[in-house]
């Protein structure tokens, strides 16, 4: 097995085990840390596919900003571990069965499709992951979604501040 194949399997195993531990952890802080591991593994996959810009943006935005925000919120609420009694085992089994059957159906449908048998995702080569080409395409063809996303950020920021404000006009 070449080094790229070894890396692929290692990163896949890391991503899958991290995702499982996110769902199965009792402590919410452990879940946040395992999700950071998943993001690092997925950024490793992007680097392997030569999507360099997306790898760095994934690390900076997801693992760097969003997860830190989650960690702040979890620590603000002082959640040490979920202490509520888990009385609904039936719900967990039903959830696992429905998720598992969704997974089996999707894998079966997509893997036997005629469009993708025999095609491979190209590793380590190709020009489309480079930031120069992405930047050229974004600012010529996709400049309207780019500007609209800045409006989206403004509205999200205003919305978050409005939601989070303490309303001191309540009648006591």
């Amino acid at each position: 097995m070449s080094i790229t194949q070894v890396l692929f399997w290692f990163l896949s195993a890391l991503a899958l085990s991290g995702a499982l531990m996110v769902v199965l952890s009792r402590n919410p802080i452990h879940s946040v840390l395992w999700l950071i591991v998943v993001f690092f593994a997925i950024s490793g996959h992007y680097v392997l596919l030569n999507a360099q810009f997306l790898a760095i943006v994934n690390l900076i935005v997801y693992a760097g900003a969003i997860m830190v925000l989650f960690l702040f919120v979890v620590m603000l609420m002082n959640l040490n571990s979920e202490t509520e009694p888990q009385k609904n085992n039936m719900l967990k089994i039903a959830g696992a069965i429905s998720g598992g059957s969704l997974m089996l159906i999707m894998i079966d449908v997509v893997s036997s499709s005629a469009d993708i048998t025999g095609k491979s995702a190209m590793l380590k080569d190709g020009n489309i992951g480079l930031i120069k080409n992405l930047g050229k395409a974004m600012f010529t063809e996709y400049v309207v979604p780019f500007e609209i996303s800045s409006v989206l950020f403004l509205s999200a920021m205003v919305g978050a501040v409005v939601i989070g404000k303490k309303s001191d006009a309540k009648a006591v």
């Binding site: 992007y46 894998i107 020009n127 489309i128 989206l152």
Partner: protein, 111 residues
């Protein structure tokens, strides 16, 4: 790498996220599983973009055929970041009013 491997990996991570959203009661963990699902979709989009680029690379090594997939992933990350900020503001406000982030508890409040 055959693209089926990437598709299978992405589907498994997506379904782990689905099971997490259905099973867990903590609103923050549900939100994190939504982010897991978004990342699985991102991985699949990048794999498909490299698949199309690989097909065109055979004839022309400087082709830019699969660029749209990676730009779409960029915009998905943009939307996810905005959604996380608003969602966490809602969760903090929910906690401030009821001192709990249990979604079952909030469901019972409707009576």
């Amino acid at each position: 790498m055959p693209v089926q491997y990437y598709i299978t990996l992405s589907i498994i991570i997506f379904c782990i996220g689905v099971v997490g959203v259905l099973t867990r009661r903590n609103a923050i963990i549900i939100f994190m599983c939504i982010e897991l699902m978004l990342n699985a979709v991102n991985l699949m989009l990048v794999a498909f973009s490299k698949m199309h680029n690989g097909l065109a690379y055979a004839s022309d090594p400087t082709s830019l055929v699969g660029m749209d997939g990676q730009l779409f992933v960029f915009f998905i990350m943009v939307v996810a970041a905005a959604e996380v900020s608003v969602g966490l503001a809602i969760i903090v406000m929910m906690y401030r009013n009821t001192h709990s982030v249990d979604v079952n508890f909030l469901n019972r409040l409707k009576n």
